[in-house]
């Protein structure tokens, strides 16, 4: 329902910029300001900024915070230094995914920030609260009061330092953050992103997000919509919840086993199911597929071998950075070897494709 859609604190600015607005994850969000290709290329070659204020911020604190986050999170946060960020998932007991998220170890003992997908905020918060019995923790969903801008691209550091005056950002390693201030208010600046390029994610108040947006826009940073956010993350091999991950897909099937610490951690929700799936072997897996033709594979199209369906496309595009028709697809294990010849049904025709790596673009992260 159109009238039930939420607006981010930058909504008026998107409309004033003439953005094409569309529903996403319960919000009305900018898809593009000019066109997806130009915005995509701005992030690859210069710097772009995204309003990602729809993302959720959930704070977990208290004497049992580390133990509790480790209980609900697939990655291992034991003893990680303050300012470190880990990617991972919250799993259901059967090993499928509640959500994928970032966990920030705050500069205060027993404090963690969990950044979750917009479409899953309510579900995640409810899930987290339902698991906390027996743990001395406080869980706060602060999503409504935080805004977020993702500043991404090879020139992101230059704009962060020279335009926004965030000098310490230059020294940040990949997947770390520091506590900054914007006019006396708390601001979190992390070297993270969802594009395959270097860049920062800046979390702050709604007022600060509005100021920062205007300053970056005036400095020449290109406003970018969710359209190119998807083409960028896709090329970089990054999953999107609802496509490559879901409550019907396990991280092993998505090729994200490195973020599920079955060996290092004795206990977390979903561990036993993932351990059992490792033991038994997978029946299907997400792979990359490249078509020889220019036809574009899209989510939902069948993957076939000799007329029999053996999988389904989860995301596909004519890749902007590589000018190839490529997709990621969930395919029966028997057909997931690199080099396997498959076919993708696109409307009435089938097109030959070859199984390849699911990262189509060489990422440019700063170490």
């Amino acid at each position: 329902m159109e009238e039930n859609l939420l607006k981010t604190c930058l909504y008026d600015k998107h409309v004033a910029l003439g953005a094409l607005m569309s529903p996403f994850g319960g919000f009305i969000m900018p898809i593009q300001y000019t066109n997806i290709t130009d915005e995509h290329n701005a992030v690859r070659k210069a710097a772009g900024m995204f309003d990602v204020s729809h993302m959720g911020e959930i704070f977990v604190s208290g004497p049992d915070a580390e133990k509790f986050v480790n209980h609900i999170f697939s990655n291992n946060i034991s003893g990680i230094p303050e300012g470190k960020i880990l990617y991972g998932m919250m799993l259901y007991p059967n090993g499928t995914v509640v959500d994928d998220l970032l966990v920030y170890k705050e500069f205060q003992s027993d404090h963690f920030l969990l950044v979750v997908n917009a479409s899953n905020i309510a579900k995640d918060y409810e899930w987290i609260c339902a698991q906390k019995e027996g743990y001395d923790v406080e869980v706060v969903n602060a999503s409504d009061s935080w805004g977020e801008i993702a500043l991404q691209g090879p020139l992101a550091e230059k704009f962060a330092v020279e335009t926004l005056g965030l000098e310490p950002a230059a020294a940040l390693g990949f997947y770390t953050y520091y506590e900054a201030e914007w006019k006396g208010e708390r601001m979190v600046v992390s070297r993270t992103g969802y594009t395959g390029e270097d860049g920062f994610e800046i979390y702050c108040s709604h007022a600060a997000v509005n100021e920062i947006w205007d300053i970056l826009l005036a400095a020449g940073v290109v406003p970018c919509g969710l359209g190119c956010r998807d083409t960028l993350r896709f090329e970089a091999g990054l999953p999107l919840y609802g496509h490559e991950l879901s409550d019907e897909i396990t991280p092993l099937e998505a090729g994200l086993g490195m973020f599920v610490k079955v060996k290092d951690k004795e206990e977390f929700i979903g561990r036993d199911a993932i351990a059992a799936q490792k033991e038994a072997g997978l029946s299907r897996k997400i792979v990359g597929i490249e078509l020889q033709d220019k036809a574009i594979p899209r989510a939902g199209y069948p993957v076939e071998i000799e007329g029999q369906q053996v999988g389904v496309v989860t995301t596909g595009y004519r890749s902007i950075s590589t000018d190839r028709s490529v997709c990621v697809a969930m395919v029966d294990k028997a057909y997931t070897e690199l080099g396997t010849q498959v076919e993708i049904r696109i409307r009435k025709k089938v097109f030959p494709g070859i199984v390849c790596k699911k990262r189509f673009y060489e990422t440019n992260y700063k170490k």
Binding site: Q32, I346, R347
Partner: protein, 127 residues
């Protein structure tokens, strides 16, 4: 305001038809190319394919989405515009100067069910 061309027939699904004898030259309208944005692929049928009016005969695709094409008339595909295979952006540059397929019509009375430029403009204005 998207432009139209007088003397063509228009379908509700935003194709135009130019009649040359018993051949229907078919393309997409300026309104259609504009609402799709930059096109990156045009999926076209094979020559000799038989189409009934209303049949899907291909698609135009932008980065984000595919939009099906429907034949406004029945007949046999006699030619496809191969230039569009390598240059789909021609449709963005001038949707009326760049046709997609030519169909040898079997029932010219089907043209009567299509719109003229004024009626099509009125339909777009309501959307």
């Amino acid at each position: 305001m998207a432009k139209t061309v007088e003397g063509l027939y228009y379908s509700e699904s935003h194709e135009w038809v130019k009649v040359e004898g018993d051949v229907a030259v078919i393309g997409i309208t300026d309104y259609a190319q504009h609402s799709m944005g930059d096109l990156s692929y045009v999926d076209m049928p094979e020559v000799d394919d038989e189409l009934a009016a209303g049949d899907e005969f291909g698609a135009v695709e932008s980065v984000k989405a595919a939009s099906d094409l429907y034949s406004p008339v029945s007949g046999t595909v006699i030619e496809v515009n191969e230039e569009l295979e390598d240059a789909p952006e021609l449709l963005n540059e001038d949707a009326f100067a760049n046709w997609i397929i030519k169909v040898k019509m079997t029932d010219q009375s089907e043209l009567e069910g299509l719109m003229d430029a004024a009626a099509y403009e009125a339909m777009c204005a309501e959307a």
